[in-house]
Symmetry: C3
Subunit: 152 residues, 3 copies
């Protein structure tokens, strides 16, 4: 299952990786593990969504934001690895959702990222996951996700 064919079928074009907001690297490899930095729903250098899910944003908008985050994670990995087919497993993601008071549907929001990863990677895209709420996120983005990947 070639990752790039799947992306093409899904009509997804990997963008250039989003600009960094601090003193860190987008991905860091140790052995056959790759840790990806927290990524946001940035499109063309700007957040595609702002605000909190359950207040400014609906669950559906949160899911769209989460999907964009996952696309950006893949763009970071593509830049680093040169070939996304080197990814042997999506191990785990940790997804944060900036949530209004009494909004408790973080898993639904992060599903936007998880579903995308499963669609792209198939069986090896099955990952462990935590969906957590936060009161705020950098730059007022609604979703930030970090991940762990295994490579060949």
């Amino acid at each position: 299952m070639c990752v790039y064919e799947n992306l093409k079928k899904m009509d997804i074009t990997l963008p250039a990786p989003p600009p960094k907001g601090g003193i860190y690297v987008p991905v860091k490899q140790v052995g056959n593990l790759i840790f990806t930095s927290g990524a946001g729903p940035i499109v063309d250098g700007k957040p595609a969504f702002l605000g909190k899910v359950g207040k400014e944003l609906s669950v559906e908008e949160g899911q769209k934001a989460a999907k964009i985050v996952a696309i950006n994670i893949l763009s970071m990995l593509h830049q680093y690895l040169g070939d996304l087919n080197r990814i042997k497993n999506v191990v785990k993601i940790l997804g944060f959702v900036a949530s209004a008071d009494d909004f408790n549907d973080q898993p639904q929001v992060i599903n936007g990222a998880s579903q995308f990863l499963v669609d792209v990677f198939g069986e090896k895209g099955q990952h462990a996951r935590s969906a957590i709420s936060t009161n705020e996120l950098p730059g007022n983005i609604p979703v930030e996700i970090e991940g762990v990947f295994e490579i060949e």
Copy 2:
């Protein structure tokens, strides 16, 4: 030290793993590491506790919730591994506590999980840990914990 004997002495029966709330797997192995997805204080398919520690729930109730989360993590690992004695080390947990404003005793709450893991696994149950607050959690549960384990 047999894990199942310790559980029996502690009068703990591992339940069937709780139902998933999204598109992910409960545990994911990479090499000799196992990453467990965020788990909650679910008993018989329903949250045993709801609300925020420091508001609807006391620290003691939060600790009980954290202990149930740890039991559920073990049930997920038991289902995956077949034998919990294959666990060589409890490496780390990351515990989130849905907290009322001005509640700052997250470590006390997560101790409910940490103490349980040490009681069950003994020396190899000594783990690294972070206890963090959140403003909300999925389904209004008070505690969500993810972990990293090392297996033989």
Copy 3:
């Protein structure tokens, strides 16, 4: 590049590791990875800063707090390893900033820790990172950071 020479040039003296607040170990090794527990801006057994960034504390105070956290992480690693030069790579940190409503500059705050790690370790100090907000933190500290390190 000797870590201790860099610390000396930066006029930093590693303190004794801060006291634990719960049932866990400061660092846990698995293979050539070390996971460090969430650490806070503790100096001489007391928080050097209290409160939320964007409310009681400015961004600059948050950065100072983050730097102290990074120093404490190194003191924990020094105690465990005996020699910080055994650190081959700073792999990743996950930084939580207790934030007032509408404070969204968590990356700037965590830069206080990231910059310190890069200054101390040079090239191998380049790390992946997530900067996240929380509504509260243990003991009302403003910054809590956990990390993953690779050793020889």
